[in-house]
C-alpha cells in the first residue's frame, strides 16, 4: 500500500554529482577548470560525503480540484505554469530532506580561516548533496508507485516557476520536516540551509513525466540568464 510511504526514509545516501556542483560554481563549457580545482573538488567531495547526515521524511496526501487550482490540505496550487506542469493529479507526496548542519559549519570555518575557495566549493558540493537526496527520494517513490500503476512526476519546490516561495509556510508542516530536525524561520528559510522541501505529483500511469536524470528543472523557467541554469553541450 502506498500509505507505507508515510514517515522517514531509511538508508538515504548522498551521491555527489560533481558536474552539478560545477554548475553551481558557474562553470559552463570549457576553460578555467584547472587540474588544481579539479583536485580540490575531488578532495572536498569526499569531505562532503563524510560530513553529510542525510535524512528524509514525507507524507502522501489526496489532491482536490478547486476550480482551476489544486488543493493539498492547506496548500493551494494556483500558478498556471505549476498547474500545467502537474496536470491532473490524484495524490501528492510532500517531503523534506536534509544533510544536517555539519557541512555548513565546516564552510563557515573555511571562510573564517581565509580558505575561501574551499569554503565556496564545499558549499556548492553541499547543495549537490542535498539535491541528490531529493532525487533519490523522487526515484524511490517513482519505483514504489509504479507498482500500483501510478506515475510519480518530477519534484517541484516553492520558488520553481510560478510557485511562490511564500507557500513554504503551508508546505513545511505538511512534509513533517520538523521530525528530521529541519526548522523554518519566520522569513521562510530552512535551517539547516542544505535542506529541501518539495512536492511530487502522482497521477494515473499515463506518463508524460520526466525521468530522474532529465535536466527538467531549468527548461520551464523564465530566468534565461540565470547563473545556475543548466548548460547544454552545443556541437556547432
Amino acid at each position: 500500500m502506498l500509505t507505507a510511504l508515510n514517515g522517514e526514509w531509511t538508508d538515504l545516501k548522498v551521491r555527489i554529482d560533481q558536474d552539478e556542483a560545477l554548475r553551481y560554481l558557474g562553470y559552463k563549457g570549457r576553460g578555467g577548470l584547472t587540474p588544481r580545482i579539479q583536485e580540490l573538488i575531488r578532495e572536498l567531495s569526499q569531505l562532503a560525503e563524510e560530513l553529510a547526515q542525510p535524512r528524509g521524511i514525507g507524507m502522501l496526501y489526496p489532491v482536490q480540484r478547486e476550480g482551476e487550482s489544486l488543493r493539498v490540505e492547506s496548500l493551494c496550487l494556483a500558478g498556471p505554469r505549476t498547474l500545467s506542469r502537474l496536470g491532473p493529479l490524484c495524490q501528492a507526496y510532500l517531503f523534506s530532506v536534509t544533510i544536517g548542519e555539519e557541512l555548513e559549519k565546516e564552510v563557515v570555518a573555511f571562510f573564517a580561516s581565509g580558505e575561501y575557495t574551499k569554503g565556496a566549493v564545499l558549499d556548492s558540493l553541499g547543495s549537490s548533496a542535498v539535491e541528490s537526496l531529493a532525487a533519490e527520494v523522487n526515484k524511490r517513490l517513482r519505483e514504489q508507485v509504479r507498482r500500483e500503476g501510478l506515475l510519480a512526476l518530477e519534484r517541484i519546490s516553492p520558488g520553481y516557476g510560478d510557485w511562490p516561495l511564500e507557500d513554504q509556510f503551508q508546505l513545511y508542516p505538511l512534509t513533517k520536516a520538523a521530525e528530521i530536525g529541519v526548522k523554518l524561520t519566520d522569513s521562510g528559510l530552512l535551517i539547516p540551509r542544505k535542506s529541501i522541501t518539495a512536492l511530487i505529483g502522482i497521477r494515473p500511469g499515463e506518463a508524460g513525466g520526466v525521468g530522474e536524470d532529465e535536466p527538467s528543472g531549468c527548461t520551464g523557467c523564465d530566468l534565461s540568464d540565470c547563473l545556475y541554469r543548466r548548460g547544454e553541450v552545443e556541437g556547432d
Partner: protein, 808 residues
C-alpha cells in the same frame, strides 16, 4: 493520388496541410476526456465533416484522426486490441471526405507520441516503442495512407523509433517535433539535432508543430531550414495558448496567423499547416502559399552532420577541426578494460564526462576487450555514455555485429567507425548504417592492405564512396580516414598521408578524419611528433582528429590551426580561449609595461591563484629589487587582480579561480602590510557589509568582502540576519563610506527594502549597494538603492564608482 507525385512536389512547391482535428471535434461536441479517435467509429460523419472543411479551405494534405491510436494510449482505455480498427477507419474517413468533396488531396496517416518516456528516462524500451509504432504505421499504410506524419514529438529518441518503424512501409515519412519557447524540446533537444537525427532515420521532411505560434516558431524553423538537409515542415498553433478561466484560448485569428505563416515560408518552411486552435478559416487564409516556391537552403557539400538525443556536431568545410575524444578505448589500459569486462562501466562514464568537460566534440566508444561479449558491452557502453554526455558518438569496432548493436540502441545519428574498401566490410557495414540512420567512417584500406601512395588511398576512398551510393546512403554521410603508419617504419608514409588528405578533399569533396597518434609509435618525444603532424594535417585540410583531449598541446594546436586555416572566423574562438594570456607570458600586462622576472612570477602567481609561489616571489622582490611595498601593490598586485577580474567577466575564469587568486593576493597583502608602517596604509574607503534581517545566506556576501579587500577597501562585516537598526547604527558609528546589502530569497527582499529606506533617512550621503540571487537591477532601482551588482567582480567596480561620485 499516388506517392510519386507527392515526392515530386516536395521541396519544389510549398505544400499545405490541414488544421487542428482535436479542437475542431471539441467544437462539434467531443466531451473533454474522451479520446478523439473513438469518433472514427462512433461519430464518423463528424470526422468526415472536419476533413471536408479543410479540403474546401484548400488543404492539399489531410491528416487522419489517429494521433493517439497506438497500443499504449488506447490500452489505457482497454482498447489495445483496436489499434488496427481505429487507424483503418481513420484513413477510410479521410478518403471518403476526399471522394465526397471531389478534390484532389493526399492522406497523411498521423502518428503521435506513445505517452511514456523512453529509457533511460522513462519506462518504455526502444523495442516496445518500435513495435507500437510499427503496428500503427502498418495499419495506416495498409488502409491506404499516402504518407506517414509523425507529430508532436518532444523526445527525439521516440520520434526516431516512429520514423524507423514507418520508413520500411514504402511511403514517405514526415516527422515533426514540438519545441518549447526556449527553442528546445521538453527533453532539451535542439532544432538542428531534430533535423539531423530524424532525416538520418529516414524522414523525408522534418519540422515543428504545436506548443508555439507562428512567430515564436520562426527561429526554430530558420535553424532547421538553414542546414539544407530536408524540406522543413511548420504547423504552429494559432498563437501561444492562454488560460482564460478553465478554457485554453488560442489568440490568433486567421489573418494574423496567415501573416505569421507567410513569414515562416520566407524563413524556409516548405510544408505548412496548423495545429491546436487552427480552423478551416486559418487554412483557407494560408492556402495561397501552396503554389509558391519554397525558400530552400542549398544542400551542404563536404559536411557531415551528427547528432545525439539532444545536440549536434557538424564536421567539414568551414567548420573548426573537430576533436573526437579517443579515451574510451581499452587498448593498453588495464583498468578501463577491467571496468568494461566487469560490466560496471563506471570508468567509461567518467571518461565520457571528463572528455566532454575537456573540450571533446564527439566521443569515440570502443569496447574491444578480448574474451568478452562485445555486442552486449557495446550496447551497454552506448547507453552509459549517452547518459553521461550529450555529445554525439562515434561507435568504434572492427566487428560489424558490434557496430550494429551499438547503432541499434543509440538514440541519435552516430558515426560508425569503421568500414574499409574491402568488399566484405562494405557489404556488411553499409547496410547497418542504412538501417539505423548512421554515418560511416571509411578507412582507405583495400584487400591488399594500406596503399603505399596517396593515389592508392584516394582510389580506396573512391571505392567506399561509390559503394555507399550503391547502398543508397547519402554521400554526405561519409568521412574518410587516410590512415597513418608510424613514421619510424615508413619514412615516406607521413607525406603520403598528408597528400591523400588533400586529394580526397579535392577529388571527392568528403570530409576527412585521422587517428593522429599512430604516427609517432616507437619514437621518443611522441607528443612532439603528434603535434607537428597534426598541424601539417590541418594544413592539408583535415576536418577532425581522433585524439586525447587531455593533451593540452594537441588542443592548442587545433585552436591555432583553426585560426591559421580560416576555420575560426574573426579569431573569435581563439581570442575567447586565449585572450591576452600570450601577452602576459611575454612579461607584459595590458598596458604594455615590462616587468622584471620576479615581479612576473608574483603576477602569474596571483593570476593563476598559486598561493605557494607568492611568498618567495615577494621576499625576493623586496630584497633584490628593493621595491617599495606600495609600488608592488600598484604595479603588480592591482594589475594581476584586474586581469583576474577580466577573465572572470569574459567567462574564462569562474568562482573558484577568482577565489584562489583572492587567497593568493590576500597573502601578498598581509606580507606587505607587515612591511608598511601602519600609518602608511591607505584605503579606497570603508565598506560595511550585511546579509539582511531574516536571511541566513552569507556565502555570496563573504566572497564580495574578500574581493573588496583585495581591491583596496577596508571592510566591516556585520554577518547575516542583521536587524535593520543594527545596520543603520553601525554605519553611523563606523563612518562607513558605502553599505552593501545581500539577500538570497524573495521572502527576505522586504527586509532589504526596509534597510535601504532607513539608511537613506538617517545617512542620505552614504550610498547603498544591493545584490544576491533574486535581486535585479530594476529591483535595486525600485527600492532606491544607489548601486547593484550581479557578482563580486561587478560589486568592486560599482563600489569604486559610487565612492568616486560621492567624493567628487
Amino acid at each position: 493520388m499516388i506517392n510519386q507525385s507527392l515526392e515530386s512536389f516536395l521541396g519544389k512547391r510549398v505544400i499545405v496541410l490541414d488544421g487542428a482535428m482535436g479542437t475542431s471535434l471539441q467544437s462539434l461536441g467531443l466531451p473533454p476526456g474522451v479520446l478523439p479517435e473513438t469518433w472514427n467509429l462512433e461519430q464518423p460523419e463528424k470526422v468526415v465533416s472536419v476533413h471536408r472543411s479543410y479540403l474546401e479551405a484548400g488543404a492539399q494534405v489531410i491528416e487522419t484522426n489517429t494521433f493517439g491510436a497506438n497500443r499504449k494510449k488506447l490500452g489505457q482505455f482497454g482498447l489495445a486490441d483496436q489499434v488496427a480498427a481505429f487507424n483503418r477507419r481513420g484513413v477510410e474517413l479521410a478518403r471518403q471526405a476526399i471522394a465526397d468533396s471531389g478534390k484532389r488531396a493526399w492522406v497523411a496517416g498521423v502518428i503521435g507520441p506513445l505517452g511514456e518516456l523512453l529509457e533511460p528516462y522513462g519506462p518504455l524500451s526502444i523495442s516496445e516503442a518500435y513495435a507500437a509504432f510499427s503496428e500503427q504505421a502498418q495499419a495506416l499504410v495498409e488502409a491506404g495512407a499516402d504518407l506517414i506524419l509523425v507529430q508532436t514529438m518532444s523526445d527525439l529518441a521516440e520520434a526516431r523509433q516512429a520514423v524507423l518503424a514507418a520508413k520500411r512501409l514504402g511511403v514517405p515519412v514526415f516527422a515533426s517535433v514540438t519545441f518549447e519557447e526556449s527553442g528546445k524540446t521538453l527533453t532539451g533537444a535542439t532544432p538542428e539535432a531534430a533535423v539531423i537525427s530524424l532525416a538520418a532515420a529516414g524522414a523525408k521532411v522534418v519540422g515543428a508543430n504545436c506548443s508555439l505560434g507562428p512567430r515564436e516558431m520562426r527561429p526554430v524553423i530558420s535553424k532547421m531550414a538553414v542546414l539544407g538537409l530536408v524540406p522543413v515542415l511548420a504547423e504552429p498553433n494559432a498563437g501561444l495558448p492562454r488560460l482564460e478561466g478553465t478554457q485554453t484560448v488560442f489568440p490568433e485569428g486567421a489573418a494574423e496567423f496567415a501573416q505569421g505563416m507567410a513569414e515562416l515560408v520566407r524563413a524556409g518552411a516548405a510544408v505548412i499547416g496548423g495545429c491546436c486552435g487552427t480552423t478551416s478559416e486559418h487554412i483557407s487564409r494560408i492556402a495561397f502559399l501552396g503554389g509558391q516556391r519554397p525558400n530552400l537552403s542549398p544542400r551542404p557539400k563536404g559536411r557531415l552532420f551528427l547528432a545525439s538525443r539532444t545536440s549536434h556536431t557538424v564536421i567539414g568545410s568551414g567548420q573548426p577541426v573537430r576533436l573526437i575524444g579517443e579515451r574510451i578505448n581499452p587498448t593498453g589500459r588495464k583498468k578501463l578494460a577491467a571496468d568494461i569486462a566487469s560490466g560496471s562501466f563506471k570508468a567509461v562514464a567518467s571518461e565520457a564526462r571528463e572528455q566532454t568537460r575537456a573540450g571533446a566534440e564527439l566521443l569515440d566508444v570502443n569496447v574491444g576487450v578480448a574474451g568478452i561479449n562485445q555486442v552486449q558491452s557495446m550496447e551497454q557502453a552506448v547507453k552509459v555514455v549517452a547518459r553521461a554526455s550529450q555529445l554525439p558518438l562515434v561507435l568504434d569496432s572492427a566487428t560489424p555485429e558490434v557496430l550494429a548493436a551499438g547503432a541499434a540502441v543509440y538514440q541519435g545519428k552516430a558515426l560508425l567507425n569503421s568500414v574499409s574498401a574491402k568488399k566484405a566490410s562494405l557489404d556488411q557495414v553499409l547496410p547497418i548504417a542504412k538501417e539505423h540512420g548512421a554515418a560511416v567512417l571509411g578507412l582507405t584500406l583495400t584487400e591488399e592492405g594500406i596503399p603505399k601512395t596517396a593515389l592508392g588511398r584516394l582510389k580506396a576512398a573512391e571505392t567506399i564512396v561509390e559503394a555507399a551510393i550503391r547502398h543508397s546512403l547519402d554521400p554526405g554521410d561519409i568521412i574518410i580516414d587516410c590512415l597513418t603508419l608510424t613514421v619510424g617504419a615508413e619514412p615516406e608514409g607521413a607525406r603520403e598521408t598528408l597528400e591523400a588528405i588533400r586529394l580526397v578533399k579535392e577529388e571527392l569533396g568528403v570530409p576527412t578524419v585521422l587517428g593522429v597518434s599512430n604516427i609517432s609509435h616507437g619514437l621518443p618525444r611522441r607528443e612532439l611528433i603528434n603535434r607537428a603532424f597534426l598541424a601539417m594535417a590541418i594544413a592539408s585540410g583535415l576536418d577532425a582528429g581522433i585524439l586525447n583531449p587531455f593533451e593540452l598541446s594537441i588542443i592548442e594546436t587545433i585552436h591555432a590551426g583553426n585560426l591559421l586555416t580560416g576555420r575560426d572566423q574573426g579569431a573569435r574562438f581563439y581570442l575567447f580561449q586565449y585572450g591576452d594570456t600570450e601577452a602576459g607570458s611575454e612579461g607584459r600586462d595590458q598596458t604594455g609595461r615590462d616587468r622584471a622576472p620576479s615581479s612576473e612570477t608574483l603576477y602569474q602567481a596571483i593570476v593563476s591563484g598559486d598561493r605557494d609561489k607568492v611568498e618567495p616571489a615577494l621576499r625576493e622582490l623586496v630584497a633584490k629589487a628593493d621595491l617599495h611595498p606600495l609600488t608592488i601593490i600598484q604595479e603588480i598586485l592591482t594589475p594581476a587582480l584586474e586581469e583576474v577580474g577580466r577573465r572572470y567577466e569574459d567567462g574564462r575564469y569562474f568562482l573558484p579561480n577568482l577565489l584562489l587568486s583572492a587567497e593568493a593576493a590576500q597573502l601578498a597583502f598581509s606580507i606587505l602590510r607587515e612591511e608598511l608602517a601602519s600609518s602608511n596604509q591607505t584605503y579606497l574607503g570603508k565598506a560595511l557589509l550585511a546579509t539582511v534581517e531574516g536571511d541566513i545566506h552569507d556565502i555570496g556576501k563573504n566572497i564580495v568582502k574578500v574581493i573588496l579587500e583585495n581591491h583596496g577597501f577596508q571592510t566591516v562585516d556585520l554577518g547575516k540576519d542583521v536587524p535593520v537598526q543594527t545596520v543603520v547604527q553601525r554605519a553611523q558609528e563606523d563612518k562607513a563610506d558605502i553599505v552593501l546589502l545581500s539577500a538570497l530569497m524573495t521572502t527576505t527582499l522586504p527586509a532589504m527594502e526596509e534597510t535601504v529606506k532607513q539608511l537613506k533617512k538617517v545617512l542620505p550621503q552614504v550610498p547603498v549597494m544591493v545584490g544576491g540571487a533574486v535581486v535585479t537591477r530594476s529591483y535595486a532601482e525600485k527600492i532606491g538603492a544607489a548601486g547593484y551588482a550581479k557578482d563580486a567582480v561587478g560589486a568592486v567596480q560599482e563600489a569604486k564608482k559610487l565612492i568616486k561620485t560621492r567624493r567628487s
